[in-house]
């Protein structure tokens, strides 16, 4: 009898110690950061695949199922995941805690006046593509660490150590990325969508235009013609775009002006071989610096 009680106590204790925090993230970038901080003490899944545009997602019941048993859901925020609340409602999980990772980020392009649809898909709380600045990835990692520690205070030290290790790794990569990008400093580029504001500011690149006439609005021939003039005037060499957008209009521009279209994944698992945030940033930096 004693043995049985002892075994029961041990198994109860082991359940408590090694219980995984069930986490769902909206994007694969957050997914990777949660894995880095939580390691084996979290069970994590994501909603938006790396090759999907996170602005527009269909509401799939399978994603409701993912959230159904989760304890935490992390999001980018700033209006990027307009679809999330419908999935949360569908999950019927009333214990789910929603963590908005944008809270300590220094937001860019926050509209000051009245916004409406004539300006395109303007995000009312600021540009949400902040994860493309690795300094912001450190802030995201810190906030993830805090949320995991709140959820499992017994493991707070473990999460803190993982955060410190990851931050150190990021710091050394930031130096490497800065060096590689130094030859692009001050150089003009064109981007497809207005999603690179945090990235270009970090590395000192100048964006002189977007292939989209306004955020979220498909390219038009007249806007392309304006861009041709701008490219000629400013000496743009690169059109930078996410790989989930159609490259028809950028390729047409490239043919006319001799620029290069650089298609990159801006999410983890966005293309083969990109399995972490660091690999994603490596790929973006290498694609740009090799194509100048």
């Amino acid at each position: 009898m004693k043995k049985i009680v002892l075994i029961a106590l041990i198994s109860l204790f082991s359940t408590i110690s090694f219980a995984e925090i069930k986490v769902v993230t909206t994007t694969t970038v957050i997914y990777d950061l949660v894995k880095e901080i939580g390691k084996e003490k979290v069970k994590v899944d994501y909603i938006c695949r790396g090759d999907q545009d996170p602005h527009f997602l269909e509401i799939l019941p399978s994603n409701m199922l993912k959230l159904r048993n989760a304890e935490l859901v992390f999001k980018i925020g700033l209006g990027l995941e307009m679809w999330l609340q419908q999935i949360i409602d569908g999950s019927r999980n009333d214990k789910l805690k929603l963590i908005d990772l944008s809270k300590d980020i220094e937001k860019k392009e926050v509209p000051t006046g009245k916004i409406d649809a004539s300006q395109g898909d303007v995000h009312p709380y600021g540009n949400p593509h902040y994860w493309l600045d690795p300094e912001n990835a450190k802030i995201m990692a810190k906030n993830i660490c805090e949320a995991l520690s709140d959820e499992s205070p017994d493991n707070a030290e473990y999460f803190k150590k993982n955060l410190d290790d990851y931050t150190a790794k990021l710091n050394s990569k930031i130096v490497e990325w800065k060096t590689k990008m130094s030859n692009l400093k001050g150089k003009p580029i064109i981007t497809f969508h207005k999603s690179w504001v945090y990235f270009v500011e970090k590395f000192g690149i100048k964006v002189v235009g977007q292939v989209e006439p306004k955020p979220g609005i498909p390219p038009t021939p007249s806007h392309n013609a304006e861009l041709v003039n701008e490219i000629k005037k400013t000496g743009v060499k690169i059109i930078l775009m996410e790989n989930y957008y159609s490259d028809n209009a950028p390729n047409q521009l490239a043919r006319t002006t001799g620029t290069k279209v650089v298609k990159v994944a801006n999410a983890v698992y966005g293309q083969e071989g990109i399995n972490s945030y660091i690999q994603m940033m490596d790929s973006i930096v290498n694609s740009l610096s090799n194509n100048l």
């Binding site: 269909e58 019941p61 399978s62 307009m82 419908q86 609005i217 989930y244």
Partner: protein, 395 residues
Amino acid sequence: MKNILLFLLVLFLITNIHSQSNVNPDISLIGTFNTFTNNVKGTPEYGKLNFETPAMEMFIDGYLNPYSRATANIAYEEGEFGVEELYAQILRGLPLDMQIKAGKYLVGFGKLNTIHPHAWHFIERPLFHQIFFGEEGFNDIGVNFSFILPTKSFYTNLDLGVFKGDAIAKTEVLDPEDADSYYDLRGNSPIFVGRLSSFFDLDDYTNLEVGLSGSYGVHAKMDFNTLGDSTAELENKSLNYLYGGLDFKLKYKPDSYTALTLQGEGLLNSRDVFRQGDVGVNIPIEKSEKINSFGGFIFIDYLFGKQFSIGAKYDFTYGIIGDEPSFSSLSNDDKNKTQGISGWFGYYPIEETLAFRLGVQNISFKYDDGTSRDSETTVTLQMLFSLGPHKAHPF
């Protein structure tokens, strides 16, 4: 006058809502404008470009508290305002993770009925909807209880509801001049509706949903002269119906620019109907008879370049589209049939804010008694706009 008052009330509500705090509900407006022509000789529309009165749907939607939401859909169609939907939902916090939806809304029988027509791939309502639910679909007043079943590897949902039954009886108005007369035919008999649906991720880009639906209840109550004797006392009888439904949707979406959708639904109808037999004592004997019939559709739609879509649909149903409601027509008709073939081309210039659709539908009729009737072809050009916040589309 009633319309003007309703419109003023809506305006007042919107203005008032805007003047309040940041807990305003979302307000969005869908506008629909159709022009069409057809080849139906003898009708005023024949061979002409006809302009329909623009239709409008205004959605007001928001959280009531952390656990529940409410939605109102005020529609303006054919020159009249009406409450298309008005319901509240308890989303979380209930035992067994149940959700409750109560009010007036599109009933979850099949997949397509709960989707608003502006979000369909095609223009015309499926023929079997028109026959078995009426021209506005299965829209009814009632309460629905929804459960997620514990099928771990895939999502399964069970809906069980009780409704007033107006939509079912709408197709049986004995006096077309008096649209409310169907109330008298049913009395106070609720109907029951259920749907079991499962959703599967076949791979990263392909999803499948299959559903089984059922609805049961009294569709009418009648006084029968079972003896065929004009002096005999009449016998009051209930006429029951049972609908069984099967639906599926398969979608392949390799990227945000391309999607291929294959979707279909079918309905089996088994019901008691009023029939007259041979003359009894001095008049025909009145009796109820069990009939069986069915209807369904299947369509394919291909979205390409994010902005364009092309598709085709095949429809079949028992009953003749456009017949006056009676106890031998529409859902009570197990003799005559209607078949439809349609095709469409859609252009969506910027996301879902604006849409243009060109649709062609050919309807042919088959009468059991050999009556000959020409097929009817209608060409419709539709413009849709969406103003205000629009939610992400459910699968």
